[in-house]
Amino acid sequence: MNSLEKAEHPAGLKRIAIEPVSRVEGHGKVTILLDAENRVHQVRLHIVEFRGFERFIQGRPYWEVPVMVQRLCGICPVSHHLAASKALDQVVGARRITPTAEKLRRLMHYGQILQSHALHFYHLSSPDLLFGFDAPVAIRNVVGVLQAYPEAAKRGVMLRKFGQEVIRITAGKRVHGTGSVPGGVNKCITPEERDLLVAGLPDVLRWADEGIALVAQLHGAHREAWDRFGTVRSNLLSIVRRDGALDLYDGVIRARDADGHILVDGIEPTAYGDLIRENVRSWSYMKFPYLQSLGAEHGWYKVGPLARLQNCDFIPTPRAEAARQAFAATAGGQIVHAPLAFHWARMIELLHSAEVIAELLDDPDLLKNDLMASGPRATTGVGIIEAPRGTLIHHYEVDAQDLVTQCNLIVSTTHNNQAMNEAIREVAREYLDGREITEGLLNHIEVAIRAYDPCLSCATHALGKMPLVVELLDATGALVDRRVRDAEQLA
């Protein structure tokens, strides 16, 4: 079977572009090359923007970093805020932060998982699932859902609101807060703030259950199509707690093969560099990571809710664990690789987040004010966290003058790069090949991408891998001059 990554004879083929990919965060486009009979020859998801974070962090004082790097992403800023803080905890010698600081960070993080999962499912993806992949463009959005399924849409709005309030109370602001710092947190929460959140919990837990019921119902109604759509087998990767439990804030790296056999387990975050290598392709600013031991061809993997739920041994909260077991039972114990199953896993994690938030709000440590820890300085810090869309790795080197000398970020969406590309190629083979291409068919491609909940904004951090262009515009925006220098001249 043709891999569809590269057309053998691109000259003379028709090009169709889905530009921009919509109802996802960030900038991406898909290009499809077709021959005269509409046979598909090439399908690619391109990440088309870069913003250069890894480079301009260099030379900055380390304490600025948790606040700077969260500007990678407005949907999951807390992930970057906390991954950077965890890495820099090591630099300031806080090998163990205080219980209150860890619990406040966890509260912030699970609040974010909850709001991001609600946003992704209800605001962005549910229109495809409720109306059909080829429903008219005019209704295939959250406004259409608000009109046709007002209860579901309002549930999404209110779940997101609750998660954002958890973030506001722990971080100071809903988007780009400042609560976490190297060595701990800088803000207590008050009994009144805690009570405000506690009061919201009964509704949130009920809405979370209703979300799982909705996805299970949609799966039941279209079972064969859901299980087949864009499905590609791959390895799975995530962090897990040391006892194998699902833990989205901290843990060790585990990977399984496509049949569920454990490939590596118990890998400390600091050893990520021995585990993962990255390849570059000419047509995307997003790199292609793989497990070094298996090589690029066989070593790529999925991350995110579907990987996490099947990589862990159990979920340490009762209602989400029951939901996980019900999910696993529908697959008869086989590993599920269907992209649409991400939505189900996502709703189970949303319930889990609500349960964790409830536990934390009930914990007396939460209101204490022992916030900061410190110890002997170090020069290297690696922080790994499970962001809403998957494993997020931040790695910093800091010199004796407190300045960052090196920064490496592997964001969730980058891990899923190969998997998303394979998924859309599978969809193109199944639905587009040889047919007249309609808008509705093209949306099938986007449905497969959306299932992974890509954060294409996060994925645009790399500065290094680009051709160099200088454009001079005048005040009206007209191009006065442009110089291009490609990389080959620099090598």
Binding site: R51, G52, I75, V175, V280, S282, W283, S457, K465, L468
Partner: protein, 184 residues
């Protein structure tokens, strides 16, 4: 808002250029007021819809600055199609955090970051014609087109976005009162 006056809905396009979507998130942070807002506006091209390019619109909300040629193209088109154009947030107004790269020499960046990158299997620079060409520096929107309103903040607070939109819908000149203008 004045419910007695039935009016045509304002047609609104939104886009994110070199931003992080945080301004769009802050827009959604109006929470359930979104439902009320939808009685007065309708979305054209936006990350929230599948309309890929804007038609004629009353209002365009743009987050993010300009970091590549495609950003410039999208901005020029938005200016052409939108009666009122708003620079929403720090990046649209002054380039924001991505403009931190403006003081760097790109040749050095390429050589140091790319050639010494951690964990790379093989150095290689993406150069496919499908990738839009980066600009040498990140620019604010008003470097290229006329901007009618600037909403500051990283991101602008949801209440500021709400105040701005409800003023416009009611036909008032938007006024942001105490606490609604801040820059963090």
């Amino acid at each position: 808002m004045n419910p007695e006056r039935p009016k045509r809905k304002l047609r609104v396009a939104t886009t994110s250029l070199a931003g992080c979507f945080g301004c769009h998130m802050s827009f959604l942070d109006i929470d359930e007021r979104l439902i009320e807002l939808l009685e007065h506006i309708e979305f054209d091209a936006s990350p929230l819809t599948d309309i890929k390019t804007p038609g004629q619109c009353d209002l365009g909300l743009i987050e993010g600055g300009l970091c590549n040629a495609e950003n410039v193209h999208v901005l020029l088109n938005m200016r052409q199609k939108c009666r009122i154009l708003v620079a929403m947030g720090a990046c649209a107004i002054n380039g924001g955090l991505p403009a931190q790269r403006n003081h760097l020499d790109i040749r050095d960046c390429l050589q140091t970051v790319y050639l010494t990158g951690v964990g790379l299997n093989r150095g290689f620079i993406p150069n496919d014609p499908e990738l839009p060409l980066p600009l040498d520096q990140v620019h604010p929107l008003h470097d290229v087109v006329k901007i009618d309103y600037f909403l500051p903040g990283c991101p602008p607070p949801a209440d500021a976005i709400w105040q701005f939109l409800t003023d416009l819908i009611a036909g008032r000149t938007p006024q942001l009162g105490h606490g609604l203008i801040h820059y963090d």
